[in-house]
Point group: C4
C-alpha cells in the first residue's frame, strides 16, 4: 500500500477521517510504503504527537535529505527502513536552506581533508596522550591506541596502570607507554609537555585517585581533550570541573553516560535538545553515540552520521571512536572537523568490516583493521 | 558390488541363506555399494544385531534423510562413507513424519535467525559472563572468549585466575576481565548483576575452591548457564547441584565427560538413550559432542548435526563451541535454538577452515576465524 | 663448454692427459655444463679424490636420480646448480636397484599418508608432550608448539620454565601448559601418563637441573622421544643415557650438534658414515639437518630430502621441524615415516613461504603458516 | 604559466628586470610549471639566495637527475611537486660526471645484491645483537627485531630490560633474548662473543647505567655498530667515545638527534655539510633521516634516497630502519651497502604499505610486513 497522503509541515496530530484512515491502514496487515515520510509523523519533534494516528510503514522513500525525525530510534516503528531519492535539488539550494541540522555524507568529509606534504615528518602529525585502562579493562586502551595509530597520529603515548604494561607493549608496539605507579587504576598525571591532544576514558574506572588524576589533568593542560566512558562518569559527579576544560574539548557519551551528565531524558528528542544545551553551556563538542551518531558543536549545530551498522554494537567499538578523534586532533584538524571525520570514518570502517564479517561476526578489532581502507576510499586519494 | 537386498524395517538379525550371502559378500574383497542402507543393519538400534551378518559397505547411498543408525561411529564399519540422494519427498511429508530425531541442516538454521535492527545497540545483544581458565589452561578461556565475540555477543566479561590476566587482555582486547584473587584457579564468584548468560568450564580445573565457586554460581544465578569440561566433571561428583541449575541451562560434554555424569555406557546407543533421560531428569539441554554432535532438549527431541569434519578433532575445538552457544544465548535466542545454531555453525566454520587448511593443519583458532563467514553464508544475509 | 667426458664408475682420481684437460677447462673461464656429472668427480665418496683434477661446472644435468655426492655442500663447487633429467627409466627398475640411499620426493610422502576417518576424535590424533624453553628462549617453545598443532596433533601440552608461562599461553592458546616450578630453566619431570610422544630440546639450556630432568624423562617414558638442540648437547655429555632411550626415538641435530655427539668429522662424507653408525649403535633415527636434510634409520637406510631453500637458514627453523616430527608421531605414524613426512613437508612449507616472502624476508613463523598448504598440496586430498 | 627562463648554473640572486618578472609571476596566482628547475633557484646551495626573487612553482619537470637543491624541504616552496624526465642521457655519461652526490634508485640496489647459495646455513647470515628498550619503550625493540628478521639475519639476540621480557618473547618468537638484570633500563653488557653486528638505540633511555653500558659496549666490540635514538643522544653528551667506535659503524639520526651531535644547524644545507664533516671526522656512516634520507660515507660521498612517503612519518618507522641496516650488516654486506640497501628498501616497503593503507592508516608494523615484497620486487629474483 502506498502512503503518499501528506507531505511535511504538519504540526498537530492527525484527527478525524484522516486519523481513521491511518489506523485502518495500520491494522490492515498490508505492506506499507510511505512517500517522503509517513503520514501523521512530524518532521522534527514528535513528543506531542499521537502514536496511534501515525502510519507505520515498512519502507519510507524520502526526497533528497532525511528529516530530523528519521534520526531517532523511536521513529523506526513509523519509518521502517528508509531510503533517500535524489530529486535533483540543486546543491546550492540545499546549502542555502538555513538549517542547523546536517546529514553527514562522504562529500563533506572529503572537503575537510588536507593531503600530506612530501617533506612532512612525524612532528607534523602530533603527539597524542592517552590515559586509559584499569585492572580488567586494559583491552580498551589497546583498542583506542590502535585506532589512533591507524588514523595517522605521529606519536602516541599511553598511560596505563602498571598491570597492563605488558599488554599494551605486546599488542601495540608502535605506541610508547607511561606505566602508572599503581597496578590497577590510574592515579597520577604525567608530565604533559609536548602533547597536542589528550584522550581519556576508555577502560578507566572511577577510583578516587583516578578522579583526582583526571581533575589534575583538566587543570594542567591547555590542549584539546577527548573524554569518554568513566572519564565522563567522573565528570558527571563533578560538573564544576567542566569550567576548567581546555578549549576544543570533546565528550563522547553513549545515551546512558549522557544522561548521567545531563540528567535523565524522557525521550530522544529531549536528549537531543539537552545535548545542544550542554555543548553550549560547557563549550564542548558532544558526540552522542547511536545508530545516527550526533555531533553537536558549541555553537549549536548538529551533524547526524549516515554510516555505521548494528554489527558495531559490541564491546570496544566506542574505544575505537575515541582513538580516531584523538588521531585527527593530533594532526591539527579542528575539534569539530576531527569529530566529523572520526564519526563518519568509524561508521564507514564498520560498514566495510560488516561486508566481510557480517553483523554478528564483527568485533571492534575488525573496525580498526578497516580504518585505512575507510580513509582511502572516502577521501579518494 | 551393489547391495540392494533389503530396505529398512528389519528388527531381527539376518539368518540362514541371506546371512550366508552377506558373509560371502563381506569376504569377497570386492568394493560394496549399499542402496538406502546396508543389508542386515537395523535403522535405529543395533545393540541386539549380529555384526558378522551385516553388509560392510564401502559406500552407502541413502534416500532423502539419514537413519538414526548413521549417526553412530560404531556403524561406520557397515556404512562406509554415506551420501544422501534427494528422491523428491515433499518437504511437508518429511515434516509430517512424527519423529523425535532430526537431522540439522542449513535451512533449519536459517529459519531461526532474527536479523538485526538498525537502531540496535550493544545492550540488545547481551552481556555474557565466562568463568574459565586455570594455571596452564588460560588458552581455553582465550578461545571461548574469541568465539563468543565472533558470534555476536554485545559485551563479554571473563573471570580468569590472575596468572592469566595478561594473557586474556593481550589476546582478546574486546573482552573485559575480572581477575580471580587466586593466581592458579578460580576461587570466587563475582557480582553477577547485569549478565544474561553465564558460561563456565573451558580450562577450569577441579580444585576444591573452584568446585565451591561453581556451586555458588549455580545457586546465585537465574540466567541460563553453559557448562563444559571440568565444570561438568565437578557436577558429576555433585549431581545434587543439578537441581539448582537455572532454567535453560546447557551441558556440552564429550562422551568421556558424559559418562562421568551418567555412568559408563556400553555402546553409543546406550549413551544416546541416557542423554535423553538425563536431559529430561535435569531439564537441561545436552550437547553431546561427536562426529554428528547431538543436541538433546529437555522434552526428548534429538537433533543430529550434519556439519563438521575430523580436522576439528584437536585441542580447543570444544572451547570454541562453548563460546558460540554463549554468544547466541546472550543475543536472546532460546537455549534450544542457541545450541542448534552454535552446533551447526561451529561445524560449518570448521568445514570452511578445512577447505583452506586441510584436516591436519586445522587449529581451533582457524575455526574461530571462519565463524563470521559460516554465519554469513549459512544465513545468507 | 659441455663436459660429457666421463660417466660414473670412476674410483681413482684423474691423471695424465685427462687431468690436464680438466685443469685446462677449469682455467678457461668459460661457462661449463656437465652431463650426468662433472668429469673427475666420484659418484659417492670423494675423500680420496684430487680436487684440482675435477671439473668445476656451472650447471650439471644429471639423469633420473641424483648421486650421493650431490647431497654434500663440499661438492657444490664441482656441480654448480644441478638439475635432474627424466630419461624414462622404468620406476620398477629404479625400485629394483639395490640401494640404501634414497632421494625423498612427493610421491613417497603421498604413499605414507593415511586419510582421516569421519568419526575420528582428538584421542585418535594423540597427545604430545613438549618440554622446551628457558629464560631468553621461550620463543623456540612457541614455534615448536605451533608447528605440532599445524601438523595435526590431537592435544599438546608444553612444559616451560614459569617465566615463559604468559608467552606460551598468549601465543599458542590451543596448547595446554605445565609451567616448571623454576622460572628460568626446566628442572622437573611432570606426570607422563597419557602422552604418546615426547619432544624436548627447543630453547632448552644445559643447566644441571635440566640435564637431570632430561635423564629422568628418558628413564621414565616408553613412548618415542624427539630430541633436538640442547637436549642433544646434554646427551653428548652423557652418552650412556642413550641406552635408555625409548624405542623409536629421533635425534634432530645440525652438523655442529651432531659432531658433539659423534666426534668431529673431517668432512661431510665422514659425518654421513658416522650418522649411519650412530643410528645403528643407539637404534635411533637421525635427522641430520642441511640443504639436503638426511634421515637415517637404525637399519642403515638414508633418505635425502629434495625440498627446502636457503631462506630457511634462520633462527627457529629447526624448532619448527621438531614440532612437525612430534605431530606425525602423535598421530601414530612410525618414527621413520614421521621423520620423512616432517622433513619433506617442512622443506615444502619453506618453499611455499619463499615464493611469497623471498629468501631474506622468510621467518620461521612463515614456514609454520605454510604447513597446512604444504600438507594439502603434497598429499593432494 | 610555463617557467623556462633560466637553466642551471646561476650563482647570484636574480636582480633587476628578471627579478621583477619572477615576483610578478609569483604574485599572479596562476599555476606555474618550471622546466628543469625554478628560475632563480640555485642548483645546490641556496643559503645566500634571495627568497622573494625565486619562482614558486606548482610543478617542476626536471631532466634526467634531480639537483641537490631538490633534496631539501626548504626548497619545496619553490619546486612544488617535482618529476624527472628521461632525456636520453647515456648512462655512462651520467656515471662519468664527477659528483659526490648520488640519487639512489632501484638499479643501484639491484647491483649490490648477492644471491643466496643453496648450501648456505644460518651461520652464513650472521648473528645480530640488539640492545634496546626501556620501561615504556619495549615496543621499539619489537619493531627493530622484526625488521632485522624480515631482512634476512641468520640469528638475532635481543637484550632488553627484564620488564620487557614477556613482550619480546611473545611478539618475536624467532628472536632469542638476553634479559637485562634491571627491569626498567639497560644496565649491563652481555658476552659479545659470536655476534657480527651490534645495534642499539631503539627504545633506550638515557639512564646513567645505560650510558655506562653503552660505553662498555663500544669499548668491547670490534664488529660494526648501528646507533640510533637515545644511543646517539648519549654519544652527543660523550663525543670522545666516538674515537673508540668499531670500524664500519653507522649513525641513524633524525635532524634533532643530528643537531645534538653536531650542534644546531641554521638550515638544511648547513646540516648537510656538517653531516659530511662528521662522517669524516668519526669515520662513521651517517644515515640522516628525512623525506630524502641521506647516507653519508666516511669518504664524503652522499646518497639521497628516492623512495618513501609522508605516511611513514609515525612512531617506530626509524626503529624499523635500524633493524634493516643490522639485517644487511649481519649478512656481511659492507656498511655502506647495508645502509643503501636498508634505506632504499625501507622506503620501498613504506610505499608498498601506503598503496594498501594510505598515508594516515600506515603504521610501522605495516612497513615491516612489506619488507619481503620490497626486497623481492626490487631485487627481482
Amino acid at each position: 500500500m502506498i502512503d503518499a497522503m501528506l507531505g511535511s509541515g504538519l504540526s498537530r496530530p492527525l484527527e478525524g477521517l484522516l486519523a481513521d484512515v491511518v489506523r485502518h491502514i495500520n491494522a490492515s496487515g498490508a505492506p506499507v510504503v510511505s512517500i517522503d515520510f509517513p503520514t501523521g509523523l512530524f518532521c522534527e519533534d514528535n513528543r506531542q504527537n499521537e502514536p496511534k494516528n501515525i502510519i507505520r510503514a515498512d519502507y519510507t522513500l524520502s526526497f533528497q535529505l532525511p528529516k530530523l525525525a528519521f534520526m531517532f530510534a523511536s521513529n523506526e516503528q513509523y519509518l521502517g527502513s528508509w531510503y533517500l531519492i535524489d530529486i535533483g535539488l540543486h546543491p546550492e539550494a540545499i546549502q542555502a536552506a538555513t538549517t542547523r541540522h546536517f546529514y553527514l555524507q562522504a562529500s563533506e568529509i572529503r572537503n575537510l581533508y588536507r593531503p600530506r606534504k612530501k617533506f612532512a615528518h612525524k612532528g607534523h602529525f602530533g603527539h597524542a596522550y592517552l590515559m586509559a585502562g584499569s585492572y580488567g579493562k586494559a583491552g580498551a586502551a589497546v583498542l583506542a591506541a590502535r585506532a589512533a595509530l591507524r588514523t595517522g597520529v605521529g606519536l602516541l603515548t599511553v598511560q596505563i596502570p602498571s598491570a597492563g604494561y605488558g599488554v599494551i607493549q605486546t599488542a601495540v608496539p608502535e605506541a610508547m607507554c607511561v606505566p602508572d605507579e599503581q597496578p590497577h587504576f590510574i592515579s597520577e598525571v604525567a608530565d604533559l609537555e609536548g602533547y597536542n591532544v589528550i584522550g581519556t576514558g576508555p577502560g578507566l574506572n572511577t577510583h578516587d585517585q583516578t578522579a583526582r588524576a583526571l581533575k589534575l589533568l583538566i587543570q594542567n593542560t591547555s590542549v584539546p581533550m577527548v573524554l569518554d566512558a568513566d572519564a565522563l562518569n567522573i565528570l558527571a559527579d563533578n560538573l564544576t570541573w567542566c569550567g576548567f576544560l581546555p578549549k576544543g574539548s570533546v565528550f563522547t557519551p553513549h545515551p546512558g553516560e549522557f544522561d548521567r551528565l545531563a540528567g535523565k531524558s524522557a525521550n530522544e528528542h529531549d536528549r537531543f535538545e539537552k545535548a545542544i544545551e550542554l555543548a553550549h553551556r560547557f563549550q564542548v563538542h558532544i558526540v552522542l553515540k547511536g545508530a545516527h551518531t550526533m555531533v553537536v558543536s558549541p555553537d549549536g549545530r548538529c551533524f547526524f552520521n549516515s554510516t555505521g551498522n548494528p554489527g558495531m554494537a559490541s564491546g570496544g567499538s566506542g574505544d575505537v571512536l575515541t582513538g580516531m578523534i584523538m588521531g585527527w586532533l593530533a594532526q591539527n584538524y579542528s575539534p569539530l572537523h576531527s569529530c566529523l571525520m572520526a564519526v563518519y570514518l568509524h561508521g564507514r570502517a564498520g560498514d566495510l568490516a560488516a561486508n566481510r564479517k557480517g553483523y554478528e561476526g564483527l568485533t571492534a578489532g575488525d573496525i580498526i583493521e578497516q580504518i585505512p581502507k575507510a580513509i582511502k576510499t572516502t577521501l579518494r586519494y
